[in-house]
């Protein structure tokens, strides 16, 4: 069952009264299944934040429709708000409030009764390692702790879908790894769907079941990280052998080899699908020749992303 189902969602605005219209989002279709973690990638200005703001009722779409958490986004934004969680980019807490005060306010904002307030605050504090910090002011927390509080606030009312906007920006590697664990556990424990907006491709690769790439207001790719990497980037094999040039036609004929080129008399560079398998195929085809060295560099999401978004630039 889909928790987000957007069709032709668009947002156009004008800068100034007579300014040229800016098409921030040009009609996108977007689906998120329940319990799914979807990575949302795109260069700055691609329209990610506008999309997120539309889906969280902060920005009114100028065209299109969407059902979010089972409710019509345009028809009943108030009902949508009850069922979604949003963790804005760059924080959401007042440095003067304690962790507990922020959580209690959030509970009141969702109109929880006394019992539910207590049990839910305990649950999210446990889930996000905040139990020892409840009496600390948000302003005195470390970057990672404060981010965990932001996420706890977004999860307090057990939303069907959580919108995370660049959750690990500015965190040290330790806090990032820690937060990743928390996001993974989220799905395992509560089945909350997550739309994860990020600039860190390793983050999307590590966490997301599926990846959406946005560029210039459009969705330009939608697939698993694995497929994007194989389809768009491919694994790179570098070989050293005598008379490299003569091996090129032979290797190009192999089903898993996408590209082959000699980089000199003794060096070959190949782009292959399914690295390990492709490599085995290459080695088998070169039986009888002496291979001096062999190197396999697996495709990264980064290469796939750059290849995708450069086509548009």
């Amino acid at each position: 069952m889909a928790v987000v189902e957007a069709r032709g969602l668009a947002c156009t605005y004008r800068v100034g009264r007579r300014g040229q219209p800016v098409h921030a989002v040009r009609g996108i279709d977007l689906d998120i299944g329940s319990g799914e973690i979807v990575g949302f990638l795109g260069p700055n200005g691609a329209g990610k934040t506008s999309t997120l703001r539309m889906l969280t009722t902060l920005l009114r779409p100028t065209a299109g429709t969407a059902r979010v958490a089972g409710t019509d986004l345009l028809g009943d934004p108030a009902a949508v708000r009850r069922r979604i969680g949003y963790v804005p980019q760059g924080g959401s807490t007042d440095g003067g409030c304690t962790v507990e005060e922020e959580l209690r306010f959030q509970a009141a904002a969702y109109r929880m009764d006394r019992v539910r307030t207590r049990t839910r605050i305990e649950a999210v504090c446990e889930q996000l390692d905040l139990l020892d910090l409840t009496h600390r002011r948000a302003g005195s927390l470390s970057g990672g702790q404060r981010r965990r509080l932001d996420i706890a606030l977004g999860l307090l009312h057990e939303p069907a879908v959580l919108f995370l906007d660049e959750p690990t920006t500015g965190l040290d590697p330790h806090s990032r790894a820690n937060l990743w664990d928390h996001i993974r556990r989220l799905r395992a424990e509560s089945g909350t769907a997550v739309l994860l907006c990020t600039h860190y491709l390793d983050e999307a690769d590590a966490l997301a079941d599926r990846i959406l790439v946005m560029s210039e207001g459009r969705l330009i790719a939608e697939d698993t990280a694995e497929n994007l990497k194989t389809r768009i980037a491919g694994d790179i094999v570098t070989l050293e052998l005598d008379d490299a040039e003569s091996a090129v036609p032979l290797l190009k004929a192999l089903p898993l080899v996408r590209e082959a080129a000699a980089l000199g008399q003794e060096t070959l560079r190949l782009t292959v699908n399914h690295g390990g398998q492709g490599l085995a195929e290459v080695v088998a085809a070169l039986a009888g020749r002496t291979i001096h060295s062999l190197q396999l560099v697996p495709a990264t999401l980064e290469e796939a992303f750059l290849a995708l978004t450069n086509q548009d630039a």
């Binding site: 009850r82 949003y86 007042d94 440095g95 409030c97 009141a108 904002a109």
Partner: protein, 248 residues
């Protein structure tokens, strides 16, 4: 709506009480005014009996307190917006009007406490007014704070920049203050200046409080001041609520 307002109010009040010094700081200016300018002004109005001079002067200081205690609150909401707090609240089902009213009521309470303290200080200086007059004056001060803080929050959220907010406020404050008859009654002004001051809503508030202090609780001045303030409150709260509701 009421529960939402109470939740926002409690949160904001707790934040204010965490630094109570600022509430006292807000009082400093009006008390200095009372102590250093009051004796001068009452002397200048020597042909009035001293009692009457204080009854003319204190309402002006009250309006000044209410004005300065209110219009700068928009800076705080810019900081909250920057911290992401406003966005976070706007994604919850909390009533948008409550987001404004909870904040505004906290500010009204702070201004009322300051006004009560100011009145307590003014009595030994020579202010004489009945209980009814005092209560009515506090009601006017409260309504004025309600309007101006709502307006200031609206401006803060619309401008989202301290650099834009400061000149706007400073430009508006000076003429509003000078033309309200805070320092001297506008009846002493030349005709053109007096006519100009008729466009200033706070002039009517000063006059209403003066009339209330004189014991004239049902006077035209009081009714007119009340009507002006109610109208102002409706306009300002409407504007402020719209900025909290806006999807942009």
């Amino acid at each position: 709506m009421l529960r939402d307002t109470a939740a926002v109010f409690t949160r904001q009040l707790r934040l204010s009480l965490r630094s109570p010094f600022w509430i006292l700081f807000g009082l400093f200016q009006p008390v200095v005014f009372l102590a250093f300018y009051g004796p001068l002004m009452t002397r200048a109005l020597a042909d009035l009996p001293a009692r009457q001079a204080w009854q003319l002067f204190v309402p002006g200081v009250l309006v000044q307190l209410s004005l300065f205690g209110s219009v700068f609150v928009g800076f705080a909401v810019i900081a909250e917006w920057r911290a992401g707090v406003v966005e976070r609240m706007r994604v919850t089902p909390v009533s948008r009007l409550a987001l404004l009213l909870g904040r505004v009521l906290r500010d009204v309470l702070v201004v009322l406490v300051q006004a009560a303290l100011l009145l307590a200080v003014a009595v030994p200086f020579g202010l004489r007014a009945g209980v009814g007059g005092i209560l009515l004056a506090l009601a006017f001060v409260g309504l004025m704070a309600l309007s101006l803080t709502a307006l200031s929050y609206g401006l803060g959220l619309a401008l989202r920049s301290e650099d834009a907010m400061a000149p706007v406020l400073n430009t508006a404050l000076m003429p509003l203050l000078l033309l309200s008859g805070v320092f001297l009654p506008m009846t002493l002004a030349p005709a053109w200046l007096r006519d100009l001051s008729l466009a200033n809503p706070f002039r009517y508030v000063v006059e209403a409080i003066r009339s209330a202090f004189a014991g004239d609780l049902g006077s035209t001045a009081v009714l007119r001041g009340g009507a002006v303030l109610v109208l102002l409150a409706v306009l300002c709260v409407g504007y402020g609520a719209r900025t909290f509701r806006q999807q942009s």
